[in-house]
């Protein structure tokens, strides 16, 4: 086995007396397609926030490509290869789709402080951004302001920005959130075309999407990992069913 590219060990987090992450461990290998599911309030988003650096766990460690990032700020983790999208679309609203992607490309190349070009972005950055947009089927609307795009297209811009960072690990927090079921195919199609070596952690409520995409699933309930395994095993797991449907007592 190669070393995992993302490794959470014994993470603990609580708000006051409320334990939201209870001894969670998780590891993703290169090219993983891992889904994190769980009922509302299971602590999924809190866990994502700890991985990306918005929250700091009380105990436990997070290693990214072998580096302990537990105490690193968010932007340093991004530079080490961690990209995320946001559950609620979260873009640079006064820029076009192309420019949103170009901003990410420029940062990844460490050219965010550059004063060398006076055309917004150097032409090689622009070409890369356009190329990524084309791969995400955004080339035709790339010139529009992201705030003028359809919601589904905005979700694709989110993914394109994450791709532009050339991550080792991608955290996708409900990439299909807020989309009608008919548009899920578009997102799935985009997910299928993610580079194969990228490890993906998908947090999602939509079960058909999860079972189509994931090769391994972790189930979280009340801050704890209650099951982990291949999709078929999870589908038949009694504890998972209980967690989702509640216990009769």
């Amino acid at each position: 086995m190669t070393e995992p590219v993302l490794e959470l060990s014994n993470l603990h987090m609580s708000f006051g007396g409320l334990v939201v992450t209870n001894d969670v461990s998780l590891s993703l290998a290169i090219g993983a397609r891992h889904a994190l599911i769980g009922p509302n309030g299971a602590g999924k988003t809190t866990l994502v926030d700890q991985i990306t650096g918005r929250l700091r766990p009380l105990r436990g460690t997070i290693r990214l490509a072998g580096v302990d990032v537990t105490r690193l700020p968010q932007h340093r983790r991004t530079r080490l290869g961690l990209a995320r999208n946001f559950q609620v679309t979260n873009l640079f609203s006064s820029f076009s789709a192309f420019e949103n992607i170009a901003l990410a490309v420029a940062e990844r190349e460490g050219r965010g402080l550059s004063l060398t070009s006076m055309r917004g972005f150097p032409s090689d950055v622009a070409d890369q951004a356009e190329d990524i947009a084309r791969r995400m089927h955004l080339a035709e609307v790339g010139h529009r302001r992201v705030s003028d795009l359809a919601y589904g297209q905005q979700r694709l811009v989110e993914l394109a920005i994450a791709l532009a960072l050339r991550p080792k690990v991608m955290i996708l927090d409900e990439p299909a959130a807020g989309l009608p079921a008919g548009d899920h195919a578009m997102i799935l199609d985009a997910l299928d075309r993610l580079p194969i070596h990228v490890a993906v952690l998908l947090i999602e409520h939509d079960m058909p999407l999860v079972f189509r995409f994931a090769r391994e699933i972790t189930v979280l309930a009340e801050g704890m990992v209650i099951a982990r395994g291949a999709p078929e095993a999870i589908r038949g797991d009694e504890r998972v069913r209980t967690a989702y449907l509640g216990t009769r007592s």
Binding site: T52, P73, Q74, H75, T78, R79, A83, R84, F86, N90, L91, F92, S93, S94, F95, F98, E99, A102, L103, A104, A106, E107, R108, R111, G112, L113, S114, L115, T116, S117, M118, R119, G120, F121, P122, S123, V125, A126, D127, A129, E130, A133, A139, E140, V141, G142, H143, R144, I161, A164, L165
Partner: protein
């Protein structure tokens, strides 16, 4: 109709559309025309035009913060004042060279900017606004009490501005002062235009749009804001130093809350986030003030206030946003 637009869009590569978005438009040269016209008007207009040039430099520095970085501050007068005092104090101690005096003012303001920015940029919005307000009161009180350095409430007397580049003296009709101020304005404008159209400027606007997202694509948001804050402070310090050199005086009026608030009003009048608002605002404000004070010396502030209220009501984007209206109409 919309189909036509999308096919047209499809044919334009991104790099080409960036070129056209960031190209120099003919209208952007209007400030240069204005600068060139002033000497033709006769020497009576030099003092007003000089004051406009200085205020525009100050306004540009504020637009970089308010319009591009999204940092609204009520304390930008600090940097103007520190620049004015620094070059004034240097002059009192025998260093009256006007060009290096600007660098002294800029450097002093940049140092204060780094320190103050490091503290206030840890906050955002309303808290930040209050902290900048506190800072401006703090600094003006220091300027008031440290009489041995600043001359206190009487101001700094004995400022002597030497000849420009050792050749041109600052004469009474104000020609040298005007040409010097106008030159500095043009240089600052060229520099800032380059900055905001560069990847650095784009990233600053990205932070203004969405700091959380900016962090998530790998930007060190706070350090980057501190860089912009310091650049802005240095430019404001340059404007202040210029003011002290032209007036051969620096006093409490250069540093307080009033000048901080006035420049923000001027910027709102002109419009933020496009550099040209920072030129139109101070120019219109100061020209209107000049005219109104001649027509009605007792009540000019009332008329100026009404002008500003009318602008906010009918042109909420500021005077420079009228350019979009004209451009939109031209296309139709």
């Amino acid at each position: 109709m919309s189909d036509d637009v999308s096919t047209a869009e499809r044919r334009v590569p991104f790099a080409a559309s960036l070129r056209s978005k960031h190209r120099l438009r003919p209208a952007e040269l209007l400030p240069l025309v204005a600068v060139a016209i002033v000497p033709l008007l006769g020497s009576g207009y030099y003092p007003l035009a000089t004051q406009i040039a200085i205020t525009v430099i100050f306004g540009l520095s504020l637009d970089l913060l308010v319009g591009y970085a999204g940092i609204v501050t009520l304390g930008h007068g600090i940097f103007f004042g520190v620049g004015a005092y620094a070059s004034g104090i240097a002059s009192v101690h025998g260093w009256g060279d006007p060009v290096s005096g600007l660098f002294i003012g800029a450097a002093a303001a940049a140092v204060v900017g780094v320190v103050q920015g490091f503290v206030v940029l840890r906050t955002a919005r309303f808290t930040l606004l209050m902290l900048t307000l506190c800072s401006v009161f703090l600094v003006s009180e220091v300027a008031n009490k440290a009489g041995w350095l600043t001359g206190g409430a009487d101001g700094l007397t004995g400022v002597m501005t030497g000849p420009l580049l050792g050749v041109w003296t600052f004469d009474l009709d104000g020609r040298t002062g005007y040409l010097f101020s106008a030159t500095v304005f043009v240089l600052v404008w060229i520099g800032l235009r380059g900055l905001v159209h560069a990847p650095f400027g784009q990233s600053i606007m990205a932070i203004r749009d969405n700091p959380g997202r900016a962090e998530a694509i790998g930007m060190a948001v706070r350090p980057r804001l501190l860089i912009v804050y310091t650049v802005s402070a240095a430019i404001a310090g340059t404007a202040g130093a210029l003011q002290a050199e032209i007036d051969q005086f620096a006093g409490l009026k250069n540093v307080g809350f009033e000048i901080s608030a006035t420049i923000l009003v001027m910027l709102a009048l002109g419009g933020t986030g496009r550099l040209y608002g920072a030129m139109a605002g101070p120019a219109v404000y100061l020209i209107a003030q000049d005219l109104l004070a001649k027509i009605n010396p007792a009540m000019w502030q009332l008329w100026l206030g009404l002008l500003i209220v009318a602008t906010v009501l009918f042109v909420p984007g500021g005077l420079s946003s009228l350019a979009d209206v004209f451009r939109g109409r031209g296309k139709r």
